[in-house]
Every structure is written in C-alpha cells, then in structure tokens.
Amino acid sequence: MVNLTIDGKQITTAKTSTIYEAAKENGINIPVLCYAKKLLPYGACRICLVEVEQMKGRLIPSCTTPVTEGMVVNTMSDEIRKVRKTVLEFLLVNHVVECPVCDKGGECDLQDLTYEYEVVTNRFQGEKFDLPTDEINPLIERNMNRCVLCGKCVRVCDEIVGYGSYSFINRGFETKIATAFDRGLNCEFCGQCVSMCPVGAILPRPFKFKARPWQLKEVDSVCGYCGNGCTVTLGVKDNQVQTIRFNEDTGVNHGNLCVRGRFGYSFVNDTKRLKKPMIRNSNGILVEAEWEEALSAAAEGLKAAGSSAGFIAGARLTNEELYLFKKLSRTVGSDNLDHSGGECYRGVTEGLFETLGVKASTGTFPQIESAQAIVAIRSDFYETHPVVGMVVNQAIRRNEAQLTVIADKKGKLTKLPEARTLMHTPGCEINILNALCQTLLAEGIAVTDGVEDVAALQAFLADYTPEAVAQTVGGDAEAIKKTARELAAADKVAILLAYGLPYSAYSKELATAAANLAILSGCAGGAGSGLYLCGEKANSQGAIDLGIVPGAAGRGVQKMLQGAADGEVKALYVVAEDPMVTYPDRQAVEAGLKKPFLVVQDIYLTETARLADVVLPAATFAEKDGTFTNAERRLQRVRAGIKSPGEAQTDFAVFTRMLKKLGQVTAETPTQVFAELSQECTEYKGIAPADIGPQGVVWGGESLAPTKKQLKTVAGLVPMDASYLLLTGSCLYHSGSLSTHARGPLSVVPEAYVELSRSDAATLGVKEDELLKLKAGDQTLQAKVKVGTRLPAGVMFMPYHFAELELNRVYKGQPAIPVKPVK
C-alpha cells in the first residue's frame, strides 16, 4: 500500500493505482475522456491533468501516472482549470456541435465538460469536420464529425473484443478513426465501441430518437440468451425496452456484451408475440380463448394422462419456474421430465459426474483471465459464448496465456495471438483429447495422485499416440505434445467446452474425455484452474441443478417423443422450446408432437405451437422476476423491466395457476419459491435471493472441488468418409431459435446459409450469395453460399437456428452429415 495526499486528504491505496484511480476511490472526481477502467492506460487527451508537488513545473496526466509514497496531488487550481478549458476549446474547434439532435446528449462527456468549464466562446477558430456518416449497417452509426480521437473504440475492439475493426488513419488535421479502406463498419456488432465512446460519435441505430437518457428507467437484469449470464441493464420507456444501457459495475461481464445481448432485445417488444391463449376447436383450428378455459383444458389433459404425460422445458425459464414445472410433473404423477433436447447438456454433465462427481464447471469466468494455458474444445466456443471468448482474449493479450483450440473449423479463437490450432476431421475432438492424455501419461508429466484407473487408461490409450492420432484425424503430433507439456507445466489451466442443441452427438463421451484431460493435467481441483462446461441457454445450469431430468422410471426427451408417436405418452407439455425447429430429426419430432394431447407455452406461435391443442402465451426474460444460474454456477437476479403484452403471463404465473387447478397449494412469489427450492436443491442451500447482489452468488465457491478423480476410457471416432461433410452449429449472431425473432441479430444474419471454403467454392463453381443445393440421403437442403476462410476443403457449415431451412430433416444428432452438392 502507498500513502499520499490528494486535495489535502490523506489517502492509502494499492501500489498499482494511478493518481486518477486513487482519487476516484476516495470520491475525488477528476475529468477523463480517453481513460476507461477496462482498457490499458493511454494518456492522450490531457483533460485529466493535475499538479503534483514533487513534479513541479508541469502538469501531470493523472490517468497514467502511478501513485508514489508521500505524493502530494492537487486536482484543481486556476492553472489546471485554464489548461482543461484550453483542451476543450481545441476539441471544439472542429467538432460539430449538434447536441439537440445527438442521441448522446445528456450523457456526453464533452457536453458535460464544456458546461462545467463554461466554454462559452472559443479563442481558436477552424474548419469544422465535414465527414460522411457511416450508416451502412443497421446497428451502429458512426459520425466522425463528433469524434474526439480518444481512441477508446480502437482499443476496446482490439484489447477486449479482439476483432480490430478500427485504426487511426492519416496524419495531422486529417487524422481520424476508420476501418480498413475507410469502408462501412462490418464486424461482429458487439457494440463495445458504442459503450466506450465518450461522445456521440458511435451510436446504436435502433435507439436513434427513441428517448433522452434521463427519460429511461434502468433495470438490471440478466441476458436471456446464453449461459454466459451477462448483466444487461434494460433502458425502459413507455413499457418498452428501448435499448440496453452500458453498465460496467454489475455482473461478470464488466459491461461487455455480444450482439445478442446488446441488440437482440427487440423480440421483447415484437407485435407478433402471443397475447391470448388458444385452444384447438372442434374443426381442428386454433382459436383464441380465455385463460380459465385454456388452463382447465391443459390441466385436465395432463391429469388424464397421469404417469403417461411428458414435460419438456427450455432452459430459458428461471430457476423458480423450472422448480414449479417439476412440481407440476410430480403432481400429475409423471417421471417423464427433461429439458433442451435432453441429450446435449444433460449428457455433458453426466460425463462429468462419472469422472469428477460434479455436474458443473469447476471454476469461475474471472479465473480464466489469469490462466497460463487454455484449451478450447471447438472453435464454436466463441460463437456460443462470445463474452467468455473476450476473457480468453484478455488472458492472452494481458497475461500471455497460451491458447490451444481443438477444432474442425477455424474461427475467431484460432486467430488470437499465438493461438495453436489442432485441426481435426469433423467429429474427432475425442481423438485429440485422448492424444493429449496419452502424452501426459507417456511422458510421466501427468498428475496421478489420488486418481483412479490410471493404468487402465494408459493401456487403453496405447492406440492414441499423437503420431497415430495426427495420422488418422489430422492435427500435428508435435503440436499436440507441446500443448500437453504446457498443460502440465501451467499452475492455472482452463479447459473450455461449450454445448448446445446442435451438438448433441457424443456429448457425454466428449465431456468424459475432457474430464480425463482435466484430471491428468491437474486442472480439476487445482486452485485457479477450471474445467468449464458451458450450456447453450441462459439457465442450462439451473436446469441441471434443479434436476429437470427424467425421474427413476421416466423418459428423456427423445424417448418421450418416441413414446408419444407410439401412443404410450398421451400428453406433452412443452414450454419455451421449439422442438420442430431446434431438435434433431424433424420427422421423428413431428410424429411425436402430432399424436398426443399437446400443450405449448411460448411467446410466439412457433412451429411447435401450431401443432398444439392448447397454446399459452408466456413472457420474456424482460418481464420476469427470479434467478438464472449461469455456466459458472453463478446465481443472478432477473428483474422485470416491462409488463407482458396483452394477456400474456410469466411462466411462473401460469405454473402456479395450473398447480392450483390440480389442487396444489404453492407459494405465490418467486422469492418464496426460491426459499422452497433451496431446501430441496443441495447446491442452493443457504442462499437467499436477498443475498444475491450485483455480482451474484456462486454456489460451491470459486473452485468447485471434484468429489472423485475417476478416469474413464472413451473411444475416439473413426473419421467419416465422404467427399463433403456438413457440420451444423451456432453462429455468433444467434442463439437457439429465439434470436430469429430479434431484429438486431436478424439484420446482420437474416437467413440460413451454407459456408464453405474458397477451394470448394471454386471446385463447385459457386459464388457468394448463389444458391447451393445439398443432398443428404433422400432430403435436399438449399441455402445461400457464404465463402470464407474458416473451413477446410470438403467441410461445410450451416447454422441451425432458422426454421425455414428445416435443417433437422437431415440432422439427426450425427457428428457430421455426408452431403452431395447438386448444382
């Protein structure tokens, strides 16, 4: 600690603090423009100058100068005032002042400082900037006439996002911020630059002329999309979410978001949402109905089916809602309960349970930043959980972590500095993981203390030498060995595995192989290390914690659908899921949904809802109170910002009413229900919603200790033999099928596409945006071509989010789909 004096006040602060930070901690305000808490010190704008008695004769930039013992600082004097005013006058020479129509007005640092320093006239005169605004993309508008060249957008896009859209170009008066060749912005649209810009030079377009900042009610909640669990602050006016506000003080994400979190909120305000219940009438048509009638019909149908009823939930429900849903299943006497397609995330956690005895990530996200060695399994990790990807980027740039990506295609992660990519043929991640384990054991660098079945695994892995694996599935034997050695040498290791509906093949096996690696590398249970299993949806982990899985005699999703088609499952209750679009094997899903009495509860009339006998209109995350548990076991508060449209109700309200209809008394509020569920769910014992503060509560602690270290042998896959293999998965801009109702993500990626390599495009003679037909078995898929550098020859990719494509006609859970292009 260091002692110093600021404005006559005695202050003790950390050795690493700058003058600015020390002042801020103590409530002394120094103006800044180019400083940002989450970026590296920069010191360009000179607005933060202060006097330091030990450095007389010049003014000192407080944002870059570290504190020293005995320092005496003055943050205001006539001279400081004068200099700051001059800085502002300079900035205002070329700046086009148009506060009345600038969306930043009311929260613009330049406007506020101009006011505070009373810059009424300007001693300097000069030409005003006259640059065209960049309005090419629908999400972010750039108006460089308002730029103060603080460089925050350049830095955040590099230091945090790792995308690198911007650079300073030209020199002198001509200096400005531009993209390559000064073209319109075309990036991942995460909006970090929007949140960093101190002025109105980079603005969210959907928010233009929607509200003045002071008219917005701010509500802190949790993003409803992925398992990252970013805090989002809803900006609400007129019972609509008008924008997502920048908030770096709450949550695990330090104000960072991805395109879905920042711009994907609009489905909440969508006029196409369901506003009234519906019942299928005697003519077989869905017609609007009253709640009482619809609820009674649903309750009766489920009750009649009794133990042959099935319950399928999406992992976008809150913990409280999931708990009530489970209670409903018990009330009607059914063990048939499952979530999210059943096999994917559940399978992953089962693999982990058999090896480590736990069913969740063992570390927390902030720990990844200080890991020395990171292994990401699948490059898609960045697409499914972008904000964790940003943490990985910072671990590399700030702490020189070595990243290895085990992948069947390239992506943002493989481009990070010094990233090593172990490219393998589709479906063969396990082979590579086995080779890493084999190396650790063969070289005698594995952690084997207290580990069960080391010898058995070692014997089994004899066929998985790096050389043998590289030969059959690709990758480079030396690179595999290097990674293994780095993992053994590192104190802190992070192993990342993301999961979701489009990755249901061999999920349990993959998690097992990853757990073996975590055990042998010392990652499992090591302080600061973690194996991260990241579910696709906002509350995937909550669904596992609360046991939304088949009971002793129960069926999982696939078996329920099968049983329904066979007439054994007589009623199905599907909530917040659209199996027709997102579950593998569309024909089987359709057969299973068409036959039984079907109740669907969702916010849209989804393809699944169209098949229902009773449709119940539900609410979005923005209308709910409750908790989500993110992929690092963090329980966080979800708060309602708006009221549901029409007669739509929260899933919580629907479940309590339904339970009442079935004769069950239940608690009335989410808080009461949480109290009840925390009795039953051991992980949540002792946690009360009131304790869940801005940073949430991580159950099991920062490092979740494995209860065992049981190695399990798991065989790799034999590479598939086909001239073209089609992969499916998530694309960055979307999440499940929900985001296909959100204008933001849709405006960037409006429809399905088939991505392929340059060389395949040349061989097939297809160009960007042309239609390509793919035959798979007796089915044909057609989509626009996207030519890129991510894929090796012979491998194609299609995102799974889009209903129109009906990808699940051919995707039945296989690791990759052999396809034949037809022109």
Partner: protein
C-alpha cells in the same frame, strides 16, 4: 435508410480482381521475420506499383494483423499508394520559390491537358500528378520532375511540350 443506398452500393462494389501470387510470394519471403509488416508492404508495392486492397486482406490474414491496422500504416506513410499509379509520375514543386514563380499555373496546365490534379492518375495509367514540397532546385524555379528527369524554369508552354514528349513514348 434509402439515403444509404449509395453508401451500400459503394461498399459492396466488387473488389478489383487481381492475381495474388505476387503478394503471396512477398509474404512467403518475410513470413518468419520479426517486424515484417513494412517490408511486406514495400514488397507488395514494388510488385504491383501500388497496394491493392485485396493484398491488404491477404496480408492481414497471413500475418495475423488487423486489416484496419495495416490501413493505418498505409495512410500514415506518404510512401504507400493505394491506387494504381501512372507510368510517368509528374512531380510539380509547390515550394515557396516555385510558388512565387507561378507553380500554381503549371499545376493548372497539367490539369488542363491531362485532367489530373494532385495524387490523381489518368485512366490509361500513363500519368500521375503529385504536388510536392521544395525539391531542392530553387535556382531553376519553377520546377517539375517526370520520374527521374528534372525540368527547370518551366512555363505553361514548356510543360505542354514535356507532356507531349512523354505522351509520344510508350
């Protein structure tokens, strides 16, 4: 969004199709060198006579640097050209001595004959005009240079003659 149509069209206008083999060869040569960006860019310019946009994206991909960063470098240093340049570069000195002696008129004369102002190139890629600062031949002001040849005490009339001379050449 209608007012953006033009912007969008400009944006989506196809990149010029060029043979990237030359750029690839330059990158191959320097790929393992530390601090290879400048030599790569210089090599590319030497090969193509300017820096085509597609080569920047290629270099960005292969050297794993942001294309925006490369563009920043290219616009910072005057030595790089982002557009094809003429075979003959006419440098018009606009230094003080030349200015006083009517360099402006010489610039105008070139514009009149060839239709090109500062940093512009004729469509047939034969001539590029560049207005430059003092080239150290004030004694002969006003001065122009065509590639390496210097023409001093030049007039509007003589400028025309010089241009004609080069027009007659290949």
């Amino acid at each position: 969004m209608t007012d953006n149509v033009q912007q969008v069209e400009e944006q989506t206008e196809e990149l010029e199709v060029i043979d990237l083999a030359g750029a690839n060869a330059v990158i191959d040569k320097y790929i393992d060198m530390h601090g290879n960006l400048m030599p790569v860019l210089q090599g590319i310019q030497e090969h193509y006579g300017y820096i085509p946009e597609a080569t920047v994206h290629l270099a960005a991909e292969r050297l794993n640097v942001y294309a925006s960063q490369i563009y920043g470098v290219l616009t910072f240093y005057a030595q790089f050209h982002l557009k094809p340049r003429g075979k003959y570069i006419i440098r018009v000195c606009m230094g003080t001595a030349c200015h006083v002696k009517g360099a402006g008129r010489i610039g105008d004369a070139i514009k009149e004959r060839l239709g090109i102002g500062h940093a512009e190139t004729t469509e047939d890629l034969k001539f590029t005009a560049e207005y430059v600062a003092c080239i150290g031949a004030c004694g002969m002001a006003p001065v122009i240079m065509v590639n390496d040849a210097t023409y001093g005490s030049i007039s509007v009339q003589k400028t025309a003659e010089v241009i004609e001379k080069y027009q007659a050449m290949d």
